[in-house]
């Protein structure tokens, strides 16, 4: 009860925030958060304290305090115009960050900017060290922990022992009573005799066969399925960071999901769209992102792609990226030459990079990043992403879980046939919005007459063998 009322409060609060946010009334930090995540977070650090591609935004208002408020607002809307106009603060920033150009946001209203600044200030002044997930208020509260099933096993065993002890006690007492009454009962069986009696042995064999059969069949059916499979990947890529915090749309990277049967892992060139600007990670520094560069042949020291990269030897490649790692180490530690620890760092990072990008069949560091495949359907199953994403408008989360919260990707759904079929039974076809379905005249008539309220995938043959097996 208490729980429910808490949910209610949060929901109400959220709704009111939504209302306030969507009306053009007062600027709020909540609205600012949305704007920041969608528009700014790709280049500006979310802790507001460190520079990323763009400068740290914390204290921006204070830094611009010497100028009218409009100047900061115009700067945010179109920085290049301000630089061209020769604004002193603008020129100062340009000199610091060029040649990186900030995107223009001419559509931002004053309120939008005010909201964003509110959020920036709130984040900037907030004490550090909060968990990442706390940036997601309104997330579903954690489910109450279920008691482990082992407790039941344990209780069962205790009770069985109690029953055995009690029945023994009763037996003993009955014998004692009989002895008192002078009646002779057959000699009491020893425990061993009881356990080896035909009845018990028969029951045990029966139970074993049933249990064994049940387990065999269940494991046989599940053979090859791997729900929850979460292998280590060659790059410590976090969907939580990309899809969650940065809010990048799934189909930005997995663009073929709407066009093809495969969702496809994006090529390194897609990564480079952003990571040309973001060359260091917050958690792993140069180590993980350099793997992308080493795969595609981008030299972050010079901001250029290396020519004929695929023809370089691993040692030549190592030279390029060791330099980059070393330079960064020196810069971070304000050194002019590499110290011993620095050399160790460079070596460790390169060893990790090179082992991630090579394997038994791939000798060169250059070339594709070989990810470990998680979702595997058997060869005799045809599945088409575009049918589900594009036509069925199924949310990615429905089958893949809350990917935006997964640091390490895992298989969320069982991907079993039963799981597919159940969904096909329940899912409604987007029947009226797609002209293709006009073929099904009878269903349209039935809907018009009110005989049918919805058409499910099953109704148009979604359970038939050759919809998926051919």
């Amino acid at each position: 009860m208490h729980h429910n009322s808490l949910k209610y409060c949060i929901l109400l609060a959220l709704i009111s925030i939504l209302f306030v946010g969507s009306s053009s009334a007062a600027p709020t930090a909540e609205a600012g958060k949305t704007i920041f995540q969608n528009q700014c977070a790709a280049c500006h650090n979310k802790n507001m304290k460190d520079n990323l591609t763009g400068p740290a935004l914390g204290g921006a208002e204070a830094r611009w305090a010497a100028y009218p408020k409009e100047d900061l607002y115009n700067w945010i809307r179109n920085s290049q115009a301000m630089i061209a106009a020769g604004h002193p603060k603008a020129t100062e920033l340009w000199n610091q960050f060029k040649p990186t150009v900030m995107n223009s946001f001419p559509a931002f209203t004053d309120d939008d900017i005010a909201s964003t600044l509110l959020y920036i200030n709130a984040q900037f002044t907030k004490p550090a060290g909060g968990p990442v997930a706390s940036a997601q208020p309104g997330g579903v509260p954690a489910e109450p922990a279920k008691p482990s099933k082992y407790i039941y096993y344990f209780l069962f065993v205790i009770l069985a022992v109690v029953v055995a002890v009690l029945s023994r006690v009763i037996g003993n007492l009955r014998h004692l009573v009989a002895q008192e009454d002078g009646v002779t009962l057959p000699p009491q069986k020893t425990l061993l005799q009881t356990l080896t009696s035909k009845g018990v042995v028969g029951f045990l064999i029966f139970a074993l066969v049933v249990l064994g059969g049940y387990t065999t069949v269940n494991n046989g059916i599940a053979f090859g399925r791997q729900q929850g499979y979460a292998p280590e990947q060659p790059i410590k890529f976090s969907h939580a960071t990309h899809a969650g915090i940065q809010g990048i749309d799934c189909q930005y990277c997995h663009d073929s999901a709407r066009r093809s049967k495969h969702a496809s892992i994006p090529g390194a060139n897609t990564c480079m769209n952003c990571h040309k600007a973001i060359e260091k990670g917050t958690l792993y520094g140069t180590q993980e992102l350099t793997k992308i560069f080493a795969s595609i042949g981008y030299d972050p020291s010079t901001d250029k792609y290396v020519e004929n990269y695929d023809k370089l030897s691993n040692d030549e490649i190592k030279a390029i990226y060791s330099k980059w790692i070393a330079d960064n180490y020196m810069k971070d530690n304000e050194l002019t030459a590499l110290d011993q620890k620095g050399e160790r760092t460079v070596n460790e990072q390169w060893t990790e990079i090179s082992s991630s990008l090579t394997n038994d069949l791939k000798e060169s560091v250059a070339g594709p990043i070989e990810w470990t495949r998680i979702h595997m359907l058997p060869d005799h199953v045809y599945f088409n992403h575009s049918q589900h994403v594009n036509i069925g408008k199924i949310d990615c989360n429905q089958c893949h879980g809350k990917v935006q919260e997964m640091d390490l990707m895992y298989q969320y759904a069982p991907l079993s046939m039963g799981w597919c079929i159940n969904c096909h039974r329940e899912t409604e076809v987007k029947f009226t919005s797609n002209e293709y379905y006009n073929t099904y005249k009878q269903y349209h008539d039935a809907i018009a007459k009110g005989q049918k309220t919805k058409v499910t995938v099953e109704d148009i043959g979604g359970l038939e063998c050759q919809k998926c097996h051919y």
Binding site: R259, E370, T372, E435
Partner: protein, 1065 residues
Amino acid sequence: MKDQTSYSDIWIGSEDLGRDEKFIDQASREMPDASVASMLAQGASFASANTGRRDFLKYLGFSVSAATIAASCEIPLKRAIPYVTKPDDLVPGVANYYATSFVQGGDYCSVLVKTREGRPIKVEGNQLSPVNGGGTSARAQAAVLGLYDTNRLRGPQMKNDGGHFETTTWKQLDDLVSTTLKPESRIAILSHSMLSPTEKQVVKDFQAKYPNTTVTVYDPVSSAAILRANELMYGVAMVPGYQFDKAKVIVGIQADFLGTWISPVQFAHKYAAGRKIADPKAPKMSRHIQIESYMSLTGTNADNRIRIKPSETGAVLGRLYNKIAAAKGGSAVNAPALSATLTEAIDKTADELLKAPGESLLVCGSNNIADQSVVCAINHLLGNEGKTVDLENYSLQRQGDESKVNALMTAMNSGQVDALIIYGSNPVYELPFGTAFGEAIAKVGLTISTSMDIDETSSLCRAIAPSNHFLESWGDAEAIRGHISMVQPTIAPLFDTRQREASLLKWIGGENPLFSSDQPYYEYLKARWAATAGSVASWNELLHDGVFSYTPASSGATYKDNLASVAAKLTQPGSGTEITFMETVAIGAGQNANNPWLQEMPDPVTRCAWGNYLALPVHFDGTRKFIAHENLEDGDLADVTVGEQTLRVPVIKQFGQTPDSFALAVGYGRTVTGRAGAGVGVNVNPWMKTDADGLVQYYASGVTVTGKKGEEDYFSCVQYHHTMGVTGEDSQSKEVINADEAATVYMTYGLVRQGFQGSLVNRTIIRKSHLDHVEEFVKDLQDERHHHQQLNTKQIYPGHDETYARGHHWGMHVDLNACIGCGACTVACMAENNVPVVGKREMSRHHEMAWLRIDRYFYGDVDNPSAVYQPLMCQHCNNAPCENVCPVNATNHSSEGLNQMAYNRCVGTRYCANNCPYKVRRFNWLDYNAADLWPINEADLGLKSQDDTIPYGADNLTRMVLNPDVTVRSRGVIEKCSFCVQRIQEGKLRAKTEQRLLRDADVKTACQTACPTGAITFGDMNNEEGDLSKKLASPLNYIVLEEVNTRSAVNYQARIINKAEGVDA
């Protein structure tokens, strides 16, 4: 015994017609000679011991432990490898199509190539092509497999001091050429016909650098006489453009123009246009008379057939000419005499031709200049020039003259050739004097071949500069003057090869700026196009469409009456028995011998695969026996002697073969090629002779054939496989009788028991009629169908009709008048659906896997029958007999009318195959695709022989051709035609994505797109506006075995022929 129709209407072969016991035994069993016991007894894997109880326990123990070990293992780590830089125009999982051209010597077909993730996997016809109009041939369909041929060379080869080839670098090979060739060197280039104008320009550039270069062109199956005769009669050495669609009377003499002759896809496309019955109320079609010595694909499709010996061609042409000249006012020639029967038939043929002046066409395959000159003269007299015989847009598909090769050989032998470039040809195998040519090669200083693999000729050369496969090449082709077709690569070269044009350009030497580019010949081609045709079509448009047409300058061909100068050289009749050497539809002149799809495709006429078989004429003994020469039976081996050389050849009894003559195909007996082609059949090329003009004659006289000398190992003839019971058992007398005989018997007793439910007699398989009787035929057909439909109206699955009416209901229509039996669809089906190649041994055991077979039936006169082809695939019956016998429901019906097959449910009882009246279900007896998880199941397939054990599709290179959308089946499951369900689903998805109703063009089956004549139409029967609905309205349609109430989804349109009275002989 002219007409056997009184007791036998249709038959498939002599053993059927003669009710051979062996045949009856085979036909009565679904899976003859294929029990597990016999399989184990023949195979080596378990054959070492009799499988007793102990062995059974051992195997059981092993399987349990193996399964346990396998189950406890973790699933192997699988990698997902993305692109480094994903190409913009490529979406993984979505096919891209590129327009290119299949060019193999003079063979040509404009095609679209389907690629998946950068791999070409399927060839489709190019609908925009004015030449082949979207049709393809079996050879074009199979070409994609040639790309992944394991026999291809991986890089340039040079012979070491020991005479063995070693892989070398292009630089070393080019250095060898540049140091050897001097500007004054006498160089010879030996090539097949070159269709590419740009390639010819490259050769000219080469000649400019090396002025003493001679270019010799020959065709493996020659039409040199046509070129020389047209030069004589019209002043232009050409093969005229034959317009079969404009001809009302077509006469073909020794020319298999629908199957193999010059441009069969184009000819079939046009021929069918005049053969389809568009309006059954006022039916119209052309008349086709075929005069030939063996049963060709074209002959089987003809209305009238006149059987001649090959040496009688000249006499026939002379008689025909004289008769027409007499009517049209030309001077007579001195023609050799003919028998009275033939004279009468030829005179009537002349009458037919004379009835259609300007709308008739005579074509002839003779390689004799005088014969071909007479053909020119007859077409001229009939006024066909500019109408059915196009002298402007003529064909460039045959440009060769083998007599020039003889001259080259003489020069080589006398040391007058410094360097020989074998330019995509294989003369040692292909020419009758090949062995002598091989000896002459040794006398040339530098010999280089551009062959893709080591063959009979390249193995004798000093070096091999392997060319690309056409799917890896740039180029263009002008097969018909005025129609250009592009060749563009669909994949980067798989191996370290270089297309032969680029090799020539490289060998020109000097600082060629082209070679700073990755693709020098692409730059050359593009630059030439910009210079010559830039204004005609933009480059990208050109590559997109693949074809474009222009109006060429006048050919200047005018008729010159030079007939008298050659008339004396007409082919003279020989004496004694003769033999015809013909090409088969699949293998051609041998270039395709190493393609297992083509080897496994049964020849349309003989229905034999994996070899060439001597066709024997069949004699009727007056009772019920059909006997051949020396009482030889199908599959027997006989010794054949022509001149001094004797070969042991398997034989086949062939209806329609001219008495006292035989026929045997060229293109077989390759010795140096890959494992699919080497040692298959016998090589007949050394038997051929050249005439006085140096032209190869495709027949020989004075042939002797002995009696039985043995039996062919694994005789692979599918003629009697999967028959639908043309012969059956009489339920009363228990006697085995012919279908229509049974019907006749019942009629005699006055009992109307014709076609009763489930009987084997009088089955509705082929329905046919004559053009003059279409009206009565339609009435009879309607009555018969009505009767059949009343026999049993019950449905196994009530309520299905309602379901089908809801959305789509897939169906098919096959026009038997348009189907010429060329087999392009069967190969397309194998390519599309990952149907495995089983090899000769398995095929001989009825284990062929083809989902679509083309049944060939004969009817009419047993001595000279007509034929009809019937493509038979799963009929997707609504009352499917296969479905209700499956114990695990692995085969069932979809709401869209498809008879579905779920491989992973199938446990292999084969009840369904047993219960299928159409015999279209195929069982994976062995692991033909090497698809099994446990390699133990791959052991011993014995494909061509016991020693040949690895499946053809087992290596990773060949597997690149697999269609990733279709499951690769492993051992122990049934499979069958799915109506290309993957294409149906793809088409529906396309319509959904574009938010519109499904169109006919969205879903076309592989067989439908492959067909050169448009005989197959697939579609949604519920779509009243669709093509299919229009075809389904024809009153000529019938359903095969309608009397057994399977309610099939495939309609056949009855065969109508336009036979003229008294022309047959």
